[in-house]
């Protein structure tokens, strides 16, 4: 049997394939159009033009002006740049005790590690960080946000859509609160860009991170939106590329790919969302019907159209993931650590799941190329695998009896 005929990939929140059209747009910039976009000569000017076209395309996707787009190596760099660029070491006190006058950040307990670990690093340097809790759906409470803001607050960083749940935070209201308090507002939009509409002015964000490979551009390219007038420190020192915000010879092919992917996303976003969410709902409903005791994590929140996260009580998510992979279905649980082993999800714990249920949860994330047949395959193999796991589970028997 041909390998790609029977393998189904439902892990598009981890990454997406490069769209053929995107690859075609990039291809000339590897060899034929290889010039440095910072060069003065004609080949350099052609590369520059391609970069600037891409900047427009990315800006258009999020309602920004081209000069507000800084290309980066991806989501992690964008998040780090936004956070350290606003709350840089220069603002921090010498002591690392975090006294009352230390600058303060407000974020959430369910951010991606790129934000959480950056915040923790700043804490060690003396900043204070408030981690807002969320409700069971993965949404923050706006009143709690209001209460968390203090005179020392210098940055609010709250993700747009959560990678594990798909939960979409009320950014417009958060933006309004940030504006009223006159505090910079950054959002990690890595999981929402290309999936749901984004307008930086409606949302009132000052900084926004996005990553190419989450919406059919290659890995290693991303962007940071920086609202005009934002006082953002540069992290890297070098040439004058990208207005000095981000020196380093531009990754022209990657940037062109990001631009093309942004253009495609803008055109197909509404239609994709409609189709993909219908497939997602079919998967979710089908699994709820076929797997006894299964539930959706964060199902009542506004979500990205492609994501669903289910708990299958009585199974080890790690074993289920492997069993499904061996049957040809790729999905995800929690976050992987450096060895590739599964770590307990801080997101599922933060929304109040007990550890055994967090471990029994699986994320399915669909993509532009997911077919109805893919969903049928998943609806076929997942219930069978859960049944097999539960038969060998030391806890499920007791649990099922107790219900």
């Amino acid at each position: 049997m041909d390998s790609h005929m029977d393998r189904v990939y439902l892990d598009f929140n981890a990454t997406t394939p490069v769209e053929p059209e995107v690859f075609d747009a990039m291809r000339p910039f590897f060899s034929a159009e290889f010039a440095n976009a910072a060069s003065i000569h004609t080949p350099g000017q052609r590369a520059r033009a391609a970069v600037e076209t891409a900047r427009e395309q990315v800006a258009t996707l999020i309602g920004a002006r081209p000069q507000e787009i800084v290309f980066t190596s991806g989501g992690t760099e964008s998040d780090n740049h936004a956070i350290f660029g606003i709350v840089g070491p220069a603002f921090l006190p010498v002591s690392s005790s975090g006294d009352a006058n230390s600058p303060q950040l407000v974020t959430t307990a369910i951010e991606h590690e790129a934000v959480l670990n950056a915040c923790q690093a700043l804490e060690k340097q003396g900043a204070r960080v408030t981690y807002l809790p969320t409700d069971r759906e993965g949404l923050i409470d706006l009143e709690e946000l209001r209460r968390a803001i203090r005179p020392e607050t210098v940055l609010i960083t709250i993700m747009h859509a959560n990678n594990e749940l798909g939960a979409v935070q009320p950014l417009e209201e958060i933006g309004r609160i940030a504006k009223e308090a006159d505090v910079y507002f950054h959002t990690d939009a890595v999981q929402s860009a290309g999936k749901i509409p984004i307008d930086v002015n409606t949302l009132r964000v000052d900084l926004l991170s996005l990553s190419g490979h989450k919406f059919y551009a290659p890995k290693g390219i991303g962007a940071l939106y920086v609202r005009g007038g934002t006082r953002l420190r540069q992290l890297l020192y070098g040439g004058h590329h990208q207005r000095g915000f981000r020196p380093g010879t531009e990754n022209v092919a990657g940037i062109v790919g990001l631009g093309k992917a942004a253009e495609i996303a803008r055109k197909t976003l509404a239609e994709d969302a409609r189709r993909i969410s219908a497939l997602r709902d079919k998967l979710q409903q089908g699994l709820l019907q076929r797997v006894l005791h299964s539930r959706v994590n964060g199902g009542a929140a506004p979500r990205t159209p492609n994501t669903t996260n289910l708990v299958f009580p009585g199974v080890e998510g790690e074993a289920l993931l492997i069993a499904l992979d061996l049957k040809g279905l790729a999905c995800s649980t929690g976050a992987a650590c450096s060895s590739g082993a599964v770590e307990p999800s801080h997101v599922l714990t933060a929304i109040g799941l007990p550890p055994e249920e967090a471990r029994a949860s699986l994320r399915f994330s669909l993509g532009r190329h997911t077919t109805s047949a893919d969903i049928d395959f998943a609806l076929n193999v997942v219930p069978a695998a859960v049944t097999q796991l539960r038969e060998l589970s030391p806890t499920y028997g007791k649990m099922a009896e107790a219900r």
């Binding site: 049997m1 390998s3 790609h4 005929m5 029977d6 393998r7 189904v8 990939y9 394939p17 490069v18 053929p20 199974v315 080890e316 790690e318 074993a319 289920l320 492997i322 069993a323 992979d325 061996l326 049957k327 040809g328 790729a330 650590c337 450096s338 060895s339 590739g340 082993a341 599964v342 770590e343 190329h369 077919t371 047949a373 893919d374 395959f377 097999q388 796991l389 060998l392 589970s393 030391p394």
Partner: protein
């Protein structure tokens, strides 16, 4: 099913077929050879490597540079992956850190602090490898779990029982660490190296061009990166908020005369001679450890020899305890030569071991394992 061509580059999925066998892969040469051997026999193989301990967890134990050539290190995970890639079978890293800490590391430290000398590998086998890992192997569709242990499993149809036997290669035999296995665990396990010598295993690994064929053997406990148990026990206790600073006590002779002082009973094991911290005319050995009074009793070699000990947590491999006193050979530590003894089961979980001749340094926390020739009859923890 998926229509888009971009999926063509994804790795081939394993066909789940009857006879799928999971191999517990540490990244060392033995378990890698198991995978190669089973594959040569035409079995469908899936590799599982356990993530057991975060080597960065106790930073004070970190030497310079990354921990190398030890189990649980990232290097070993990569080695296991490299073998799986070389032989082209699916491989996964599975997280058992929680279970490992609860069932191996914490008991190991607690035992030392209670003046005993534990064997972490036996707990790991009985409570991690052949418990949650074996279950996971079964859950993902494998019929059995194969490991790189040097020991043998045999079905005895006459008594309708699974038997555990010493390895053919006596110098490598690991049956001493496997006495805790149940009939159910034995029925689902495979020890393909039990009939081979270490040299044959290396040769097999070389013939299969395994990237780990020349890898040196790890001798240390996998979660003690420095090999220094005392340091580990101190660091781990500190992490749990337990200070061992106040654990100093005295070293006494059998009459109770104080000969010296010590920094905590976890520094000692029965029969230990070196590191007592004082010089005596005749060589003195640790005879017993009293954690309650924080006393270490020392004496001469002849006092160290004893004929009787009791064991607890007994497991009888056939599943039921013998009806009467049992004549067998008992082994009281890994490198001990099994000695003739009579074993009296006191109840389902305890037994008394009476040796024909006195044995040196019978050590609480170690195991006594009972043999009939090559067959492991059972064993228990010396108390």
């Amino acid at each position: 099913m998926a229509t888009a061509t971009q999926f063509a580059t994804l790795p081939k999925r394993a066909q789940t077929q009857r006879g799928l066998v999971a191999v517990a892969m540490s990244g060392g040469v033995d378990s890698s050879a198991v995978a190669a051997l089973l594959q040569q026999q035409g079995r469908a193989v899936v590799g599982l490597t356990m993530q057991l301990w975060n080597q960065r967890r106790l930073p004070e134990l970190q030497g310079d540079g990354p921990a190398q050539h030890r189990c649980c290190s990232l290097d070993d995970v990569y080695d296991a992956k490299a073998v799986a890639q070389h032989l082209n079978f699916p491989h996964y890293v599975v997280n058992f850190e929680e279970q490992f800490e609860a069932r191996v590391v914490r008991p190991f430290v607690d035992q030392y602090l209670a003046g005993r000398t534990p064997i972490a590998c036996t707990n790991c086998n009985t409570d991690v490898k052949f418990e949650p890992l074996l279950r996971m192997a079964r859950q993902i569709g494998a019929e059995r779990l194969a490991t790189g242990h040097y020991a043998r499993i045999r079905r005895n149809d006459a008594i309708r029982r699974w038997e555990l036997l010493r390895a053919r290669d006596e110098t490598k035999d690991q049956s001493y660490f496997l006495w805790g296995l149940s009939q159910e665990q034995l029925s689902r396990s495979d020890f393909p190296l039990g009939e081979l010598t270490k040299e044959e295993v290396r040769a097999l690994a070389r013939r299969a061009n395994l990237p780990v064929a020349e890898k040196p053997e790890s001798m240390e406990l996998c979660f003690v990166p420095t090999g220094n148990y005392v340091q580990f026990i101190q660091a781990y206790s500190r992490e749990r908020g337990i200070s061992l600073q106040n654990e100093t006590g005295v070293i006494v002779n059998e009459n109770g005369d104080v000969l010296g002082r010590h920094d905590g009973v976890h520094n000692f094991t029965i029969g230990q001679r070196k590191g007592l911290g004082f010089a005596a005319g005749k060589p003195l050995y640790v005879l017993s450890i009293d954690p309650e009074k924080n006393r270490v009793v020392v004496g001469e070699d002849d006092v160290l020899r004893k004929t009787v000990c009791e064991v607890e947590g007994v497991n009888w491999i056939p599943g039921d305890q013998p009806p009467g006193p049992l004549r067998a050979f008992a082994k009281i530590r890994h490198k001990h030569e099994a000695a003739p003894a009579t074993i009296d089961a006191l109840d389902a979980a305890t037994a008394r071991v009476t040796f024909e001749a006195p044995q040196r340094a019978i050590t609480p926390g170690q195991a006594a394992v009972f043999y009939d020739g090559d067959i492991v009859l059972g064993g228990g923890w010396i108390r």
